[in-house]
Symmetry: C3
Subunit: 205 residues, 3 copies
């Protein structure tokens, strides 16, 4: 189980780091800035999760792979981004994949730490959303979770699936991956069909 957790964590870090690196390329940071934003995006959500559940120093400071993976992602993005036709859309895709993976592993890590179901769902969502929020704040744009209409809901779905499976006592190793996939697909559907939540329409001042 622990191997699965680490593998999914690293996969989430990789794709989130790609989203951060491509955004850094887009706003024309230099190569060091690209690496820094990629690393922070990749490991930010996990660090917030670990600090909140009291697992310090956070996992990413105890395992050099947690820095190697996002650095590699940054260098790949820096080298190959000119081949990308639509950089914004690619950022969204990697962001969606990272969101799903982090929500799922965040929820399962919280459960393993003995947290109750509802806090585990919430910590899953915070883990998933955290990296993207840090990325957007540092790059100076509105955090995706506030900007996108359908973002928190897929995250909630993924974390809830993990917690329900775990609490029901039926928790094969592929459950977090499946939950991450559900979140990813929901996000892509929301992006493709431009699902929108209602917006406040009438402001007096």
């Amino acid at each position: 189980m622990d191997t699965v957790q680490v593998a999914l964590d690293l996969a989430g870090i990789f794709v989130f780091a790609l989203s951060g690196a491509l955004l850094a390329v887009r706003v024309r940071f230099d190569i060091v800035g690209v690496v820094v934003l990629a690393v922070i995006t990749g490991i930010g959500g996990g660090i917030i999760r670990d600090v909140l559940i009291g697992d310090v120093p956070p996992a990413s400071f105890r395992d050099w792979r947690f820095f190697l993976v996002p650095t590699a992602a940054a260098l790949l993005a820096f080298r190959f981004h000119p081949r990308l036709r639509r950089i914004e859309r690619t950022i969204d895709w990697f962001d969606a994949a990272g969101l799903g993976l982090f929500c799922a592993t965040g929820a399962s890590k919280s459960l393993f730490f003995g947290l109750d179901p509802v806090p585990s769902v919430l910590l899953g969502v915070v883990s998933g959303v955290g990296g993207g929020v840090l990325r957007d704040l540092l790059a100076g744009r509105t955090p995706v979770v506030l900007r996108e209409d359908v973002y928190v809901v897929p995250a909630l779905v993924a974390a809830t699936l993990v917690v329900v499976a775990y609490e029901s006592g039926w928790f094969p190793a592929w459950v977090p991956l499946a939950a991450a996939a559900v979140c990813f697909v929901l996000r892509l559907l929301a992006l493709h069909f431009r699902w929108q939540a209602p917006r406040a329409s009438d402001l007096r001042d």
Copy 2:
């Protein structure tokens, strides 16, 4: 005492969440963004406080009411904001109420955790200021604590009142509420009379 602490915490979360929800409405986030900003504003200061005093997972992750209350506040704000004539002023009022409540409960929680008087004052201020700073950063405006001339001082007064009462051994349950009220009134006076602190006047470059 614990019931009082929780009740004041929830009251502070409620009013801070209203300030976050109204700001989200004002910058035209959709309903999910309104809920997210309200929740982060409501529980942000308390999470920072709990992480800093080592009470993890933070209280707001162990008690579902800490999410229910700001969500309800967000939905209320989303539904009823067209009835508000001056949304900016209303945000300031709720912010002032949240500031007072969080400074008072932050200071008393720090004292209960065995911290010394001065750190307890400072943690009270950090608890009170934290939610508003997160709200403003996420909504892309200068944090209120830096923007407003008289903001930290009422917070310091409230936290100091709580600590002095506690250290003097005379600490009836209404002290935090009274301290919060003092902070609230000071903030409203500062807003009403536009109290200003001196500003640097002479810049050469």
Copy 3:
């Protein structure tokens, strides 16, 4: 050893606070905003470091000097800034000094807490970079670590020097100070000669 650590910490807090105070003056905050930004810049990196290594409440909440020093720095900056000819350059110098000092003390504190060499280097860098990132986020500009081409590298050098000396078993009390000086000089050279890292050049959309 502990006295050296505290002395270097306070020196780092002082210079970082000066950088924060001068930036606050530059963006025309009032005196309270100047003090607040100075304090956050001064102690922010150390708080992040302490939360990540699990030393809570952070050192700066247990020792009143950690608030007195940045407050004094803020008042000095507020009083004497009109004598500064080039405020931006002065901010950069103080920032460079704070970066070196915090990287060195952050790395050595992590080592004393029993962390492994690589995490200690990384925590040193995070300690050094953290204060400036908070300062720039709160003042609404791109964080220096992402904006400046050669910023993380001097930080890495300083933290690595400390860790290598410690692991080699040869660790006289002046090593952190020397490492901080190396970082400081590298930063100033990078600023003076405008060293630049490669930048992504070809964006299709």
